[in-house]
């Protein structure tokens, strides 16, 4: 008996000692995120240091895996337990879901003071503002419709920037003839769907994309244009290597970096990989908009959702929000991450050529109202719909759905089902 008692006593003792730390909670931010790789961690460290200058500590809650899946599960558990973190990395509709559940905080005061309404593009505000209240601080804007090309390979096969989808196919053919893998693709549903976002935009144009993938208009979804988009996806599939299935996206990027493959269709986070591999745009790699999508930006954005924490923790939260949207952090972070700042007034001096183009594109798209949420990335529609969409795309890519007719039928059904 004695030793059982000891174990219990030990556990109790240990726990009482540990809870002493909770007093410090008011002077720290608790931050849930899945940015655990070296580069990301370095970028976040900038924020941590900024906060430290203000006298706030940083309680790190990193949960990596599955592009945030594990972190979102942890977040759900934390919210269910009533232990809200100060902030959490979140995407698109998830912010709105949590806001609707009434667990998000209110940053409006800070936002007014700092004039966020004017500098954050309106489409982003759709996700960071809920019923007139700022609930999240956007960290960056990623854009999805990019081509990432190995310049050495491009030179070797004598290719030029493809302006249309057909150009693109011709370029891929050239690569194929030259014996390199034309298209580096990771055969996971989100990567395939991310590429398909661009294909749909390229095939149907800006309005079509918005109608189909943001408004979920049924007529557009079952239109011939959508069918053509699937046909185009089918065409591209012919240019991937046989081992693409299940490959992680950064491995596909590595194929382009090493020159094993010519091009990858991927969001601008791929640039972070090039940067990390000490490659420079223009000399080592090229960034083009996906053919036929210039002037339009399909975006997604990492946001720090701010939770409804007790009053004594709000000062720290406000400090975090301010630091997140500060120009210096926006610049420093996005240079590393490959994305562009979430506010349009950040000077682009620190950015490379691709970054500069991204910033300019975002600005013009924002002005021309051609800035659209990516369906694959959870900015086009709620997760149920987005995932139903990914299901159909990936089944098409992996031949479980055999024709584009069937694909369109399945897409309409799946989206209707999930709505």
């Amino acid at each position: 008996m004695k030793s059982i008692v000891k174990v219990f006593a030990g556990a109790l003792l240990a726990s009482t000692v540990m809870t002493g730390a909770s007093l410090a909670q008011t002077k720290e931010v608790q931050m849930l995120h899945w940015w655990t790789s070296g580069g990301e961690a370095a970028a976040l460290n900038v924020l941590k240091q900024d906060l430290a200058k203000e006298g706030y500590g940083w309680k790190d809650v990193p949960v990596a895996g599955g592009g945030g899946d594990a972190a979102m599960t942890a977040l759900k558990a934390m919210v269910a337990a009533g232990n809200y973190p100060t902030a959490s990395q979140m995407l698109g509709y998830t912010v709105l879901d949590y806001a609707e559940a009434g667990v998000m905080g209110d940053l409006t005061e800070t936002a007014k003071k700092e004039g966020w309404d004017k500098v954050v593009p309106a489409p982003l505000q759709k996700f960071s503002v809920y019923k007139g209240k700022w609930v999240a601080a956007p960290v960056n804007v990623h854009s999805v419709n990019w081509l990432w090309i190995n310049k050495a390979v491009m030179d070797k096969i004598g290719g030029t920037e493809p302006k249309t989808f057909d150009d693109f196919v011709a370029l891929l053919d050239k690569a194929k003839k030259a014996g390199v893998i034309p298209l580096a693709l990771g055969g996971q549903s989100w990567q395939e769907a991310t590429m398909f976002d661009s294909i749909v935009l390229s095939t149907g144009g800006a309005d079509f994309y918005k109608k189909a993938f943001n408004d979920l208009d049924e007529a557009s979804l079952k239109s011939d244009t959508m069918k053509k988009a699937f046909d185009n996806l089918g065409k591209l599939k012919a240019y991937v290597d046989p081992n693409y299935s299940g490959r992680d996206w950064n491995l596909a990027t590595a194929m382009v970096i090493k020159g094993d493959a010519l091009v990858q269709v991927m969001g601008d986070w791929a640039k972070g990989e090039f940067v990390a591999a000490k490659k420079a745009p223009g000399t080592d790699f090229l960034c083009y908009r996906f053919p036929g999508t210039d002037g339009t930006v399909i975006y997604n954005s990492d946001m720090f959702g701010m939770f409804n924490v007790p009053a004594d923790r709000r000062a720290a939260q406000a400090a975090l929000a301010t630091a997140t949207l500060s120009k210096s952090f926006q610049s420093a972070f996005n240079v590393v991450k490959g994305s562009v700042p979430a506010r349009t007034d950040v000077p682009d001096t620190a950015f490379d050529a691709c970054g500069k183009k991204g910033i300019a594109d975002l600005k013009s798209a924002s002005e021309k109202n051609t800035l659209f949420g990516s369906l694959a990335q959870g900015y086009g529609a709620p997760p149920a719909v987005a995932n139903a969409y990914k299901d159909v795309v990936t089944k098409f890519v992996h031949d479980q759905i055999k024709t584009s007719d069937e694909a369109v039928k399945q897409l309409v059904k799946a989206i209707a089902d999930a709505k």
Binding site: M1, I4, V7, F8, G10, A11, L12, A14, S15, T16, M18, T19, A21, S22, Q30, L32, H33, W34, W35, T36, S37, G38, G39, E40, A41, L44, N45, K48, W58, K59, D60, V61, P62, V63, A64, G65, G66, G67, A70, A71, T73, A74, K76, A77, M78, A80, A81, G82, N83, D248, W249, N250, L251, A254, W269, G272, E273, A276, A277
Partner: protein, 308 residues
């Protein structure tokens, strides 16, 4: 102890060759992943990218091990995974101890102090082993949250929360609750075959309920203790789902979550050698337990755990 091997002398060498051949072949099959992990962990990155994954390192280095141990980034803290042993240990040890002792007590009651309905109670506890953990994640979080608030009230009231709401304590609670089914099963099956006359004799000798448990049952339960402790230890040590959901923050994060954060990064060059080294380091305690206690494990299974 048993088997046809008493005639082994009479058997031809060919038989022995076949037997050893098969055993060796299977041993190779079982060892492949470990082998891959080991050789990879000693290779520099360029060798991994260019070379053959089954080849021995041409240019062995312990750099990845050093990095995994002391430098790899787990979130914003880049101090390797060494610090997380203690987080896991202080959660695993009480969870294993409590669930094992409770399982032993339950098994003892369910076999030696039977009451009307004991079978139903046991059946209900056993079926509990089968609940998918994903299904209990959220309701459990809600309950842990209430415990946490209770802990805060206690903190205000008497100056200590008694551990309620502490993430490590929460994990201990969760693992004890969901380990009970198996520990009870193990001990019940073992005690089922334990001579009841010993308990009666002890009663006549004047031993109380707990004295009998402590002086008679426990000293004779070593085999099943080994099985239960190994089983619980590996399961709890390896748990990721509960650990990531209830104890994700850096200061209490168990080893699996830390390892996951090292291994499962989605950007940047994946340092396979570091990942593999980290994975092996993280698995050392469980590997150690299996290798050292493997013999007792089979013995313990023999002693009753498999009978039911």
């Amino acid at each position: 102890m048993s088997t046809a091997s008493s005639s082994a002398e009479g058997r031809s060498t060919l038989d022995r060759v076949v037997i050893y051949g098969l055993l060796g072949l299977f041993a190779a099959f079982y060892l492949i992943p470990l082998f891959v992990m080991l050789v990879t962990s000693f290779k520099p990155m360029d060798e991994i990218q260019s070379g053959n994954m089954l080849a021995l390192p041409r240019d062995p280095t312990i750099e990845p091990w050093m990095k995994a141990w002391g430098e790899a980034c787990v979130g914003l803290t880049c101090a390797g995974i060494k610090g997380y042993f203690w987080n896991s240990t202080k959660m695993v040890v009480p969870a294993v101890a409590i669930s094992t002792v409770l399982g032993a007590l339950n098994g003892y009651v369910l076999t030696k102090w039977r009451f009307r309905g004991h079978k139903v109670v046991f059946g209900l506890m056993l079926f509990a082993c089968f609940i998918p953990f994903q299904a209990v994640l959220l309701p459990m979080a809600t309950i842990l949250g209430s415990l946490g608030r209770f802990g805060n009230d206690l903190q205000d009231l008497i100056g200590t929360s008694l551990g309620f709401g502490n993430p490590t304590v929460n994990l201990v609670i969760v693992h004890v609750v969901y380990g009970l089914g198996f520990t009870t099963l193990f001990f019940r099956n073992y005690y089922e075959a334990f001579p009841t006359e010993l308990v009666k004799a002890a009663q006549v000798d004047g031993a109380s309920f707990f004295q009998i448990f402590w002086r008679i049952m426990l000293p004779n339960s070593a085999p099943i203790f080994v099985v239960t402790v190994i089983y619980q230890f590996t399961n709890i040590w390896n748990d990721f789902l509960f650990a990531s959901a209830y104890a994700g923050s850096g200061d209490v994060m168990p080893m699996t979550v830390a390892l996951n954060n090292v291994v499962n990064t989605s950007t940047g060059v994946v340092e396979y050698n570091v990942n593999m080294a980290a994975a092996i380091i993280a698995a050392l305690p469980t590997l150690f337990v299996y290798v050292v206690a493997g013999r007792y494990f089979v013995r313990g299974l023999m002693a009753g755990a498999v009978k039911g």
